[in-house]
Amino acid sequence: MKAVARLAVAGVVLLAGCAGAVPLPDGDTAAFGTQICGGTGADPSAYLRTMPVLPGAAPRLSAAGSSLIGPMMSVWAQQYAGQHGTRVAYQPIGSGSGIAQTIAGTVALGATDTPMTSLERAKAGGRRLLALPVTLGGVVPAYHLAGIGAGLRFDADVLGAVFAGRIRRWDDPALRSLNPGLRLPARDIVVVHRADASGTTAVFTDYLTRGSPTWVSVLGAGNSSGKQVVWPTGLAGKGNDGVAGMLAQVDGAVGYLELAYVLGQHLPYGQVRNRTGDFIQPCPATMGRAAQGIDLAADLPTSLADSTERDAYPITGVTYLLLYADQHDRATAVALVNFLAWMLTTGQDLAPPLGYGPLTARLQRDTYAQLYQVTADGAPVAPTG
């Protein structure tokens, strides 16, 4: 019965993808260069689902962090509250805040799109922090350019040059050569980036660092990636939301946003060249391709830009949920484990319609196994085996 239900959900999502459920804005468009975006790229049947729903969960959880995962957490929190009663209050204040507040203990659960640095880990004072991947997110170049629709093509160095302020106008020869069929207007490019410490920024700048020599030379090696960089130019918005809001207000603006935001707000977004040289449309399936072969044993990179899979979307990142492994309050620990287990199973089906990539089977199994390590006052919360 459950298998039938799962197949049905997958089928609906497939159909939605094929139907091109998201209307693209009017204007010149370039064809998106990938054909696999109809599916989700995930294999839910291989997921681990062994955790029972534990009794004694706290009725409320306090969470905060990444705005990349904001819409996803919002949908998850509402669905979960309806089905299981625990209300998770999530505030998308940026990955930096998610890390800082979780370590400080002012929130129980934090979300970040980039692994913690060693400096950050040190602030935990020896207590062990679990970093659990829960979804794949795709950071896409979004823009607001009158007369130009979705599908604008970028490659890594051109994108890096744009955001470093080296390419200043939309009709620059570099952009024109990548997009021969489009009539790009003679307008200034207005860069919009993040004002807060952002995992989205970390994923994006990691991709630029790996692929754009121009970006690295302008920012300086060692300073060209991270949650915060010294941006050479542009306006700054607070959160993915702030960037999206500014994009809508300024004609000629370009920024980087998670796919869910551009889909939900019908913003034009571009396609990016990956390691194999193809222009890849960002979608759950291409994000999943980038995550193929990754497991938790090694340190996860911030962006999966170096994937050599065909159809892999290079600016893919993984969102982690952070929590202390040794919880002080049993009710909170139970609530956390229940919510996370639900997120890693039922929750994954809710990701593709929003524009997030469900975890690969390998990542899901690795992560799910870590749930058994949560303890409350020394005793493990979940029954082992």
């Binding site: 930096g96 991270g226 960089v229 607070k238």
Partner: protein
């Protein structure tokens, strides 16, 4: 028994006769009230002390005034061991705070004086109170609503004006830097204009009080000598009100410097440097605090944010203390 201006300062009740044997409840009441009176002092003291304690590590590590001397806020460049250069330069925040406040003052001060004069002496008596209520209503609108309106109504309206300024004045050799384009709506200028609208009712209200205390004989004397109404205002009302007006403006300045939400929404959040153009995006001290206080994990990031908070406190206190003193002087001495 009638209220003279002297009575507006503290005035205590006379002690009842035979007060040697005071009721114990009386003494208790006095003690409780006396204790409560320490609360404002405790709050101010706690604010200063806690901010100082939080900022102390950064002050000792980088030196107390090094952040004042550097431009550019770059938490990503902070390294625990290095003490120089200070990556947490806050000169651009002070510049942003002062510039937006000055733009606000340049617009609001003449406007407020004009409105206050109109409401106290020039407007037909029938409409004085309703107009005064309307102007006061400007102060009731919450700052988040002002910011919201500024993004969607003010900035798009300003854009053609800003672009024209950028093209015309921006091309002039020396002055041009101040008006250099491009103009995207998010700028010092937009923030300054929003602040002007927010600060105008405050200055107007205080000026109205000050103008209303002009002694009538002085006004009548001017009119008796044949002055027109404007001349009467200019000679009899404005000069003695000078201290009060300056006090009102200083208080308005204090409010402009401390305003957070409306400014953060429209200023563009550029923390990396000082752009001389009014049309460029920038940042203020409150805006960086609102944006970054919850997320500071870099070495000395949180502590440096509290250094910003300390300087904001110092600026706000200096302006407010000066303003209060001037307003009191303006009330006390109508010459």
């Amino acid at each position: 028994m009638s209220l003279t201006l002297k009575d507006r300062t503290t005035r205590s009740m006379p002690e009842p006769a035979g007060s040697r044997q005071r009721h114990p409840a009386d003494r208790l009441f006095q003690a409780a009230v006396h204790a409560a009176a320490w609360l404002p002092i405790a709050i101010l003291g706690a604010t200063v002390v806690f901010l100082l304690v939080q900022a102390w590590p950064a002050l000792t590590h980088y030196g107390p005034f090094s952040s004042l001397g550097s431009i550019g806020w770059a938490p990503s460049r902070a390294i625990t061991e290095s003490t120089s250069p200070n990556p947490y330069g806050l000169l651009q925040f002070i510049y942003g705070s002062v510039l937006t406040a000055l733009i606000a003052m340049a617009i609001a001060v003449p406007a407020s004086i004009a409105v206050a004069l109109y409401l106290t002496d020039v407007a037909p008596r029938v409409i004085r109170r309703p107009l005064a209520h309307l102007v006061d209503l400007l102060a009731a609108i919450p700052s988040v609503v002002y910011g919201f309106w500024a993004i969607f109504a003010l900035a798009p309206t300003l854009r053609p004006l800003g672009e024209m300024l950028g093209r015309t004045l921006g091309a002039v050799p020396a002055l041009g830097a101040v008006f250099a384009g491009p103009f995207y709506g998010y700028s010092y200028l937009t923030a300054g204009i929003v602040l002007a609208i927010m600060v105008l009712p405050i200055i107007t209200a205080i000026c109205r009080e000050v103008f209303a205390t002009t002694p009538v004989p002085r006004k009548e004397a001017a009119l008796a000598l044949g002055a027109t109404r404007w001349e009467m205002l200019r000679m009899a009302v404005l000069p003695p009100a000078r201290a009060g007006i300056i006090g009102a403006c200083t208080l308005g300045l204090g409010r402009a410097v401390g305003e957070t939400i409306a400014v953060t929404m429209v200023i563009g959040n550029n923390v990396t440097g000082i752009n001389p153009s009014l049309l460029a995006p920038g940042a203020t001290m409150p805006s960086v605090l609102a944006n970054e206080l919850t997320e500071a994990t870099q070495p000395f990031h949180l502590e440096s944010l509290f250094v910003v908070a300390l300087w904001l406190l110092a600026l706000a206190l200096a302006v407010n203390v000066a303003g209060r003193l001037l307003v009191r002087r303006g009330h006390r001495e109508p010459r």
